[in-house]
């Protein structure tokens, strides 16, 4: 009988397509929008993965990694003096304008690394050598810079140059870096040269990057650094969570994406729920005939739930399949951001299950209430 229940579902092609379309659209909207949201949240913390260190030290007022409150250079030595610190190096990190050779401007994320150790260097070089940063006016740019410059008609290659704050910046290497939240390209140089490029200010140190001694827990060192007046410290995981929390709490991003996800769920409930109800409603006479012929309520419930879950599973599969196609295209193009953790799939799956349960239950109540005698009317 269950096989025949599925035949009943597939046989009503118009309703089946409508149901499948509604659930597919619902799953697509929920997973695709959640994927873009998660990708965006990932972008907010890309600096933490591009500059991979165990502990970040910053001004006490800093709330998240994309916020820079400059500190005095002396803070590096104060951090170095904390017990359990293996090494501590300065980092310049700021948004600044680059002037291209055609006279146009391009905002860049200038990243000044400690010239002795190159701590925070890009993970992957695609051309040139990071050590060449020690050469005069040398910078390393990421793949996003290449793409952005190209959009302005400039093919940036190793050996080319542009200006930062009226000073020459010569490209000695090209690296791969995760895109930042604002989408500006990363331009790496040494800390000292970054201070020359940066507009003059009394304080210029953005962060102090720290590694604890072997065997000393990072959290313990963080606690000790926090005792220094005026500065704060976070483990990279802590800074990651804090940054995402900040964006969720203080920006409209979750509300915007959440609204679309909610609409997706509501549209799914409305379309799929209504169509499934209509499907059951139109089949009530047939189901009542089965009831008259000896089908119990349990069997009818099994049939209705099987129909609902079959179409739900297919809709979820198609919706998430389409999302993964979109996601792959997004990731190839580089934007919009996209990241699909399993939790999103589980969430979307639960909503689809809820929609199926809801519509099947509503339909089933009608079937259970239907007297088998209606077949004589």
């Amino acid at each position: 009988m269950l096989r025949l229940a599925l035949k009943m579902l597939y046989g009503d092609v118009a309703k089946f397509v409508m149901l499948l379309g509604g659930l597919t659209f619902c799953a697509l909207l929920m997973t695709q929008q959640s994927g873009v949201f998660c990708g965006l949240m990932l972008w907010t913390t890309s600096t933490l993965r591009n500059i991979k260190v165990p502990i970040w030290v910053c001004d006490a007022k800093v709330e998240q990694v994309n916020e820079v409150v400059p500190m005095r250079d002396i803070e590096v030595n104060r951090v170095r003096s904390v017990e359990g610190v293996d090494w501590a190096v300065p980092l310049y990190w700021g948004l600044i304008s680059a002037r291209l050779r055609d006279g146009s401007f391009q905002p860049i994320q200038l990243t000044g690394l400690d010239s002795a150790t190159m701590v925070g260097r890009p993970v992957k070089m695609t051309a040139g050598n990071i050590e060449d940063l020690r050469l005069p006016n040398a910078v390393v740019v990421d793949q996003i810079a290449i793409k952005k410059f190209k959009r302005k008609g400039i093919d940036l290659l190793v050996g080319d140059s542009f200006e930062i704050n009226d000073k020459e910046a010569r490209v000695v290497g090209i690296c791969y870096a995760e895109q930042s939240f604002l989408g500006q390209p990363y331009v790496y140089t040494t800390y000292e040269r970054a201070l020359e490029y940066a507009p003059p200010q009394r304080k210029l140190l953005s962060f102090v990057l720290v590694k604890p001694k072997d065997g000393v827990p990072a959290a313990e060192v963080v606690e000790r650094i926090r005792k220094i007046p005026g500065i704060s410290a976070f483990t990279d995981e802590e800074f990651n969570d804090r940054t995402i929390d900040w964006y969720i709490k203080y920006t409209g991003i979750p509300i915007s994406f959440g609204t679309v996800v909610l609409l997706g769920a509501l549209v799914g409930i409305a379309i799929a729920g209504q169509t499934f109800y209509l499907f059951v409603h139109e089949n009530v006479r047939h189901l009542a005939a089965l009831k008259a012929m000896g089908a119990g309520n349990t069997l009818l419930a099994e049939m209705v739930f099987l129909q609902a879950f079959t179409v739900g599973t297919m809709g979820f599969g198609l919706g998430t399949g389409l999302t993964s196609i979109f996601g792959n295209i997004f990731l190839k193009v580089g934007e919009p951001p996209f990241f699909l953790p399993w939790q999103v799939l589980a969430f979307a799956g639960s909503i689809i299950v809820f929609i199926c349960l809801f519509s099947a239950t509503i339909g089933l109540l009608k079937v259970i209430r239907a007297e088998p005698a209606i077949v004589f009317r």
Partner: protein
């Protein structure tokens, strides 16, 4: 007429059924006394709204009577619980509806095998039995056809095959010829009479169609919620048609 006529198939006494409450209450059955015997084809006739279909629903166990007794092959349907009543219907009652009630998305083989599938028989066994009966009613070449591909008469033959496939003892037919032309209706009744009127089986037909009265062993006349008289078909036709 069968030799086994003395065995009572359906016996009802004082059956009442009221729909609605208060001022809107409609008393559909007002104490129906009725009996049908094994091997008999009995027709229930009467004007529209006299309670025929309600009474049919009560004796086949798809509707509960408010009061009175309903005994079908020795089983008291009034006191049978929901699950047991469903099981009783599944095993003992075959239905032929005015609108056929074939499931349009299933082919006729699947439609005809439903009662056996509901009894838990394997698909293969159920479909073998259904195919045999469909062949007997002249549809052996069209087992894969869907109901919408068949004429009204052919659909009713599928419904007959479905009603008989599990060999029920009570066959309930509600206006089986109402959607059919005279010739097809005649053939359907011939089929019913031939295949259903066995000594262990009883056929009850509700109808308005005077053209088929001659197939009845007896005709029970209903009016205003009660059985007003029972006649043999010749007597009834001579008197009323």
């Amino acid at each position: 007429m069968s030799e086994n006529r003395s065995q009572i198939a359906v016996l009802t006494r004082g059956v009442t059924k009221t729909f609605g409450r208060g001022d809107n209450a409609v008393r559909a059955l007002k104490g129906v006394d009725f009996d049908a015997q094994c091997g008999e084809l009995i027709m229930l006739v009467g004007p529209s709204g006299c309670g025929k279909t309600t009474f049919l629903s009560v004796i086949c166990g798809t509707m509960k009577a408010d009061s009175g007794s309903v005994d079908v092959f020795g089983t008291d349907l009034v006191h049978l619980g929901g699950g047991k009543l469903t099981e009783f219907r599944g095993r003992n009652v075959g239905f032929i509806f005015q609108q056929f009630n074939l499931i349009p998305t299933w082919n006729i083989l699947e439609n005809a095998s439903i009662p056996l599938l509901l009894q838990g028989q394997s698909r293969r066994k159920a479909q073998d039995a259904a195919a045999k009966l469909l062949t007997e009613v002249g549809l052996g070449e069209r087992l894969d056809a869907h109901p919408r591909q068949l004429s009204g008469g052919q659909q009713q033959r599928v419904a007959i095959a479905r009603a008989l496939v599990h060999e029920p003892r009570l066959l309930i037919c509600d206006e089986p010829t109402a959607s059919l032309d005279a010739a097809t209706g005649h053939k359907v009744l011939e089929l019913l009479k031939a295949s259903a009127c066995r000594e262990d089986r009883c056929v009850i037909v509700v109808t308005h169609d005077s053209r088929i009265f001659s197939f009845a062993d007896r005709i029970a006349e209903m009016e205003d919620g009660v059985v007003t008289g029972v006649h043999n078909s010749g007597e009834y036709k001579a008197q009323y048609v």
